[in-house]
């Protein structure tokens, strides 16, 4: 097993508040890791530090793309990090709501194409080739996510659960090796959550992508994760298999409160 992401004692301060404190998180190739913890534990901040939305105050975020060397991405812009192969979704869905479902996914393919606006104006050969690939690839993804029937619908008109799924499809369109999902099941009903299960497992096996997800739905977390990483008040308090976490007293305390 190879490591694809490694954070080295990263910390983040917001003013006087220490939102993250010396967090070490490793993710292996093909692994599904769940990141859990009570409100305000620093989970989304960790996500933002990894994906370049925030720069960590201290420590290092290292990524190791398959077949390539280790890169420290501290201070990289988010788009560069995406190009390197990390893709993410957002806690409060951030789709391009006034674009079609298909276009949303096509935007995801942007960084894997090279044609310029001049080629688009004269419809150069590279433009034609890449557009065809983009379209085919996007439709493929929509097929996988069961959204192909809505391809020409405005994204904002999709039902909520479909919007969540579309966000994942869009992230996959950037062709990542590591996918970060921020509360993918939020607002879904039990049936939809079950379907999401299958989808996440399928992404892992078919596309050989590692997945890091923040999730509050513990049933989902217990079912699909290989490993659970628990945070509380900016710190990592436990890291282990679902079975271990379930019986971990520290974790139960963090959630249920001290006696």
């Amino acid at each position: 097993m190879k490591t694809v992401l490694q954070t080295d004692k990263i910390g983040k301060n917001f003013g006087g508040l220490r939102a993250l404190d010396a967090v070490d998180l490793n993710i292996q190739e093909g692994e599904i890791v769940a990141l859990i913890g009570p409100n305000g534990a620093g989970k989304t901040t960790l996500f933002n530090c990894i994906t370049g939305m925030h720069e960590p105050t201290d420590g290092k975020v290292n990524i190791i793309p398959p077949g390539k060397g280790k890169t420290c991405v501290n201070g990289f812009k988010p788009n560069i990090i995406t190009e390197l192969g990390l893709a993410r979704t957002f806690q409060n869905i951030r789709l391009f709501s006034k674009m079609t479902v298909l276009e949303n996914v096509m935007v995801g393919c942007h960084c894997r194409n090279k044609n310029t606006f001049l080629e688009a104006i004269i419809k150069g050969p590279r433009f034609k080739r890449e557009e065809k690939q983009t379209l085919a690839h996007s439709l493929d993804l929509l097929e996988t996510f069961g959204l192909v029937d809505f391809a020409q619908q405005m994204a904002e008109n999709l039902p909520y659960a479909d919007q969540r799924r579309l966000e994942i499809a869009r992230a996959l369109a950037t062709d990542p090796f590591l996918l970060l999902l921020d509360e993918p099941a939020a607002g879904m009903n039990p049936n939809e959550t079950n379907a999401l299960d299958q989808l996440i497992l399928k992404i892992r096996t078919e596309k050989k992508i590692s997945i890091l997800l923040i999730e509050h739905d513990m049933k989902l977390v217990m079912r699909i994760s290989d490993r659970i990483f628990v945070m509380n008040q900016g710190k990592n308090i436990a890291d282990g298999s679902p079975q271990e976490i379930r019986n971990n007293e520290t974790v139960i305390h963090a959630y249920l409160g001290e006696e």
Partner: protein, 418 residues
């Protein structure tokens, strides 16, 4: 019902009171005259009564349809929501669908080509202006409509284009055709120059800075007499010659008309192609959500600058046509109101829609031109239109301007429909 009438009466009374001093009284304290214009007040009272009634009616209806929409969302829950089209939306959609019919486009083209043959120079010149505004609207539509960057200083690039031709001609004897690309590129360069510093600014701050930029450009031209010829402007700018041939006034206007037609057609094709390309999608993603856009691996800096440059380019081009058409440029032709007018076209047309821009130009430029009585009230109505548009239809006339990609492309890649 009654309460609505009562509310409208109150509104009418309120607005009459509000406008009374300015509408009714006109005082000249030096001549010691007080002019009383009571008839104006009657007009205001009756006018506001009806406007208020209709305004309220539509506000309520908007409220209701929003509620119903959510109700529908609840009822069918997990199924896709049907798109609820209002009658106006349907008419507009049908109208814009018409523009897709090939015969209609052909007829339109023939009409455009034949127009100068059967019309006076004056009429021809009006249509040239209209086409100029279409191109300007399309250009600004890249920046505002597609990329979502509110630019209140677009007129500055228009000015730069016009002055580029005027000065190149005056100082170096450059002709129309050489100046055309130079002016376009120059405007695009200025677009980037404005773009770089404002990259971090968003929304309303960006709007104010671009407005400031416009005023700076205009004021510099007004005050820099030695190089830019100050408020008096630059006269005697030649119209393009026909292969070295000097045409008369009428002839050269007709010639300019056809040049403008060609430029307009090129602009429409180019901008449509951009719209459905990789960079066009990046612009729209930027407009929808800058954070998500960046998370998709898009370099937002580059995307913004391309939008500024490609938008400004067209203003530069139209600037040259303007200089040639009026054979005279001065800073007074490029006030903030020029920018406001072009922005009106984009806002009314529906941000992002090419057809919308064309339709809006026809309404905003041609209507006042042919309805003289409107002319005096034109700007007043513009102002009212902006407010009304934003309150009731912020998405503009043609809102569903999304391109439908051909889902099963033929092996050879069939032409896309738009």
């Amino acid at each position: 019902m009654n309460s609505e009438i009562r509310k409208s009466i109150i509104a009418a009374a309120w607005f009459s009171l509000l406008s009374f001093p300015l509408i009714v009284l006109k005082v000249d304290y030096i001549e010691k005259t007080i002019d009383l214009r009571w008839n104006n007040l009657i007009f205001i009272a009756v006018g506001t009564f009806f406007v208020s009634y209709v305004w309220r009616y539509f506000l309520r209806r908007g409220e209701k349809s929003r509620q119903e929409e959510t109700a529908v969302g609840i009822a069918i829950d997990q199924k896709k929501r049907p798109s609820v089209d209002s009658p106006t939306q349907k008419i507009l959609t049908q109208l814009s669908n018409l523009t897709q019919s090939k015969p209609l486009i052909a007829i339109l083209l023939v009409m455009i080509v034949a127009f100068p043959l059967g019309s006076s120079t004056y009429q021809t010149s009006i249509i040239i202006s209209t086409m100029m505004y279409i191109v300007l609207g399309l250009g600004l539509n890249i920046v505002v409509g597609m990329a979502g960057l509110l630019d209140l200083g677009y007129g500055a690039f228009y000015l730069i284009g016009a002055y580029a031709y005027a000065l190149l001609n005056l100082n170096y004897g450059f002709g129309f055709w050489i100046s055309l690309p130079i002016a376009g590129m120059l405007a695009a360069t200025f677009g980037v120059l404005l773009g770089i510093p404002v990259l971090r600014l968003r929304g309303d701050y960006l709007a104010i800075v671009t407005l400031g930029f416009h005023e700076i450009v205009r004021l510099v031209v007004e005050n820099w007499d030695e190089v830019l010829h100050g408020p008096s402007g630059i006269p005697n700018i030649p119209k393009p010659g026909f292969f070295g041939l000097k045409l008369g006034f009428n002839g050269s206007t007709v010639y300019l008309y056809y040049i403008t037609v060609v430029i307009m057609v090129i602009a429409i094709i180019v901008i449509r192609r951009l719209h459905i390309s990789r960079v066009g999608r990046a612009w729209m993603a930027l407009r929808e959500d800058e954070v998500a856009c960046q998370a998709m691996g898009i370099d937002t800096t580059k995307t913004k600058l391309t939008a500024f440059a490609l938008g400004a380019f067209w203003a530069g081009i139209v600037g040259v046509i303007f200089a040639a058409k009026s054979s005279f440029v001065n800073p007074a032709s490029f006030t903030f109101y020029e920018s406001a007018m072009i922005l009106s076209i984009v806002v009314l047309g529906g941000a992002g829609s090419i057809r919308g821009v064309i339709l809006a130009t026809l309404i905003l430029i041609l209507l006042p031109e042919y309805m003289r009585f409107l002319k005096e009230y034109r700007m007043l109505l513009f102002g009212a239109l902006w407010v009304t548009m934003m309150v009731f239809r912020p998405q503009g006339m043609i809102s569903d301007a999304r391109h439908k990609y051909e889902l099963n492309p033929e092996p050879d890649g069939n032409e896309n429909k738009s």
